[in-house]
Symmetry: C2
Subunit: 385 residues, 2 copies
């Protein structure tokens, strides 16, 4: 048995918690290097003590005194601030789980990639907003990128041992969200409370709204475009309300491989932690006889234009996916605040995409500048309402 | 590009025809060594000429003059009889497709395995009746065995790159056959004409009846037991009427991999011909949005006891699977001849299993003797009726 080292960037979030739940079940196999959190100092200190982490990093430095106090008398080094976060990510570990939400995750994720080891990626912005910058870094450093998101992890598993040149289709499944059967008239009147009730996964408000607009699937399409070198025209989406099939790969011989499983993030996380082997999880076995039926239908880009916008942004490349992501975030926040209607989310994103076309980013600084400017443009649209 | 050599044992049957259809599409990549047939000399001669085979073998020697005449003036060597069939199989080729139906396929399949190269296996008896004898030969010779049957090929693909020790379940899918919704009373009165109408695959009468009794799935369970070293207790069956999911493997992390595809034997055949790569087939892409739904239910071993019998035979091991297979063949023939009712098929198989328990075969001759004696015992049951 080999002991492996791990760092978890975003240890107090839901992906971090699921990862630590798995490590807790086989502690003798893991050595924890760095655990990080944004501002939850007490939780971070508790986890760092439990797993005997080398270092605990609180990104929001104002919470560093609290972290230091909570770790007093322990062997854990306590540091704070964005630079400390990047330094901790750059310490290197056999595997780094990059699970910080938002653009705040970009610099530490990049630092982990630059170590040339294995990065299990759960930060969406790394591939949506900084796709070309990140994949260039992966190519330079020789890092192994393992996708944690259930759809991309499914595709990764279905591609294992195969040549991407043999792929006919990669099909991302989408639950279709809570509004999948709603008319346009109903969508126009949809409320935040209705949008945040996701049928299959327990998620935060922002990602629940992204599921309702299907922007989450659009952003996943962009991520898949960067992760799997088969070309945008071989990527497609199918609506599968039960979310049992997490995604599929069809090969040129007519074989389709699909990955199925429970709606439990510990399954894809375990797949990355143990890759290319498997580890045991406590997740319930799949009982298809109990589930009874799996249904599929084509997506409707009239009612849900977000996937079309994402495809256009991926096709255009350069800065456009970052613009789409930033504009969508502002629009979703405005929807959740009751400032705009549900169908305005995609409309706002499309308007910003049409008005702001900066040149392609070549470094993370460019990505952050584009992200900021796209947010400002989206805010301007809000002021006009 | 490497030219590969291939022999097809059973070239005029449906698997042989599907294989040659694929080779016809990329003739520059293949060199055909041996083509064999049971008695269809004219068809065999035509194929041997088309593919410039080295040798054409007719198993029923009475048709050899016809084969010789049809191949006169060609470069194809024409031979006949069971010994010639085995010699042709022993010539060796990069890949041998073993697709002779019934126990007549055992000796040539064994001869191909003993060459220690790749054998794509479509002969059911090799693993059902001669399972331990064949797997011992595979282990001795170092041959690579690739399953052609759609279910086993699906499992093989889903296992690729994984460790069998990590498997939680292998699930064979079963269409459930034309009688899957029938009551026991209806099954008692089922006719041969009703039994041979299979909903998804175009098959011969014998295998259609096996699908209706679910004995085909029982025999596939025995084959899977020999092909995939996970233990009988990790093999299970699920009824899936659409036959789109060909089988599944669940791992201990909660990931299930499934292989899906059209009901076209060229898909699994292509998978074996190109393995570990992929080759293009003309098979239609999978359109799950068009298919709409996939349903699953637990098998009912009260109405369909065949899978229970097969599991018991596999558990007992030794000669019992051969006894089951032989008794079933006699019972199915009696059903098709109108001599016994549909539910008597499994009952006869169970009675023979209960009365005849020879010691385990250690060579093909033992298997053939057991097969013959089990048939005789089943015939005796028929005389008693």
């Amino acid at each position: 048995m080999t002991i492996r080292s791990i760092s978890i960037l975003g240890a107090t979030g839901s992906v971090g918690a699921s990862t630590l739940d798995l490590i807790r079940r086989e502690p003798e196999q893991w050595r924890v290097v760095a655990l990080t959190a944004h501002s939850q100092a007490a939780d971070l200190a508790r986890l760092a003590r439990e797993f005997s982490a080398e270092i605990a990093v609180i990104a929001d430095e104002s919470h560093l005194p609290e972290l230091r106090a909570a770790l007093a008398g322990s062997t854990v080094e306590a540091v704070g601030g964005p630079a400390a976060l990047v330094e901790a990510a750059a310490r290197g570990a056999d595997i780094t789980l990059a699970a910080i939400v938002g653009c705040a995750g970009l610099a530490p994720t990049m630092a982990a990639i630059e170590q040339g080891r294995t990065v299990a990626l759960a930060n969406k912005e790394a591939l949506v907003s900084a796709g070309e910058v990140m994949t260039a870094a992966v190519a330079r450093s020789g890092a192994t990128l393992l996708p944690v998101d259930s759809e991309h992890n499914a595709i990764f598993q279905c591609l294992h041992g195969n040549d991407p040149a043999d792929v006919r289709w990669i099909t991302l499944t989408a639950s279709g969200g809570p509004f999948r059967d709603w008319s346009i008239e109903q969508l126009v009147a949809a409320t935040p409370a209705q949008a945040v009730k996701h049928p299959n996964w327990d998620m935060g408000a922002k990602i629940s709204v992204d599921s309702a607009t299907m922007m989450n699937k659009g952003l996943e399409l962009i991520e898949a475009f960067h992760l799997f070198p088969v070309g945008l025209e071989r990527l497609r989406i199918i609506v599968h309300p039960q979310s049992v099939v997490h995604s599929m790969v069809e090969y040129r011989d007519g074989s389709t491989l699909a990955q199925l499983g429970p709606s439990d993030m510990r399954v894809p996380i375990a797949s990355t932690l143990a890759w290319p082997r498997r580890m045991t999880t406590p997740c319930a076995p799949l009982d298809l006889a109990e589930i009874g039926e799996l249904t599929f239908r084509a997506p409707d880009e009239i009612r849900f234009p977000a996937t079309r916008l994402a495809r256009q942004a991926a096709q255009a490349g350069g800065a456009m996916p970052a613009v789409l992501n930033a504009a969508n975030e502002v629009a979703v926040a405005a929807f959740l605040a009751g400032r705009v209607g549900f169908t305005r989310i995609a409309a706002m994103a499309e308007e910003v995409l049409g008005r702001y076309a900066p040149s392609a980013p070549t470094a993370l600084g460019d990505v952050l500048a584009i992200d900021g400017e796209a947010r400002a443009r989206a805010q301007e649209l809000l002021e006009l309402v």
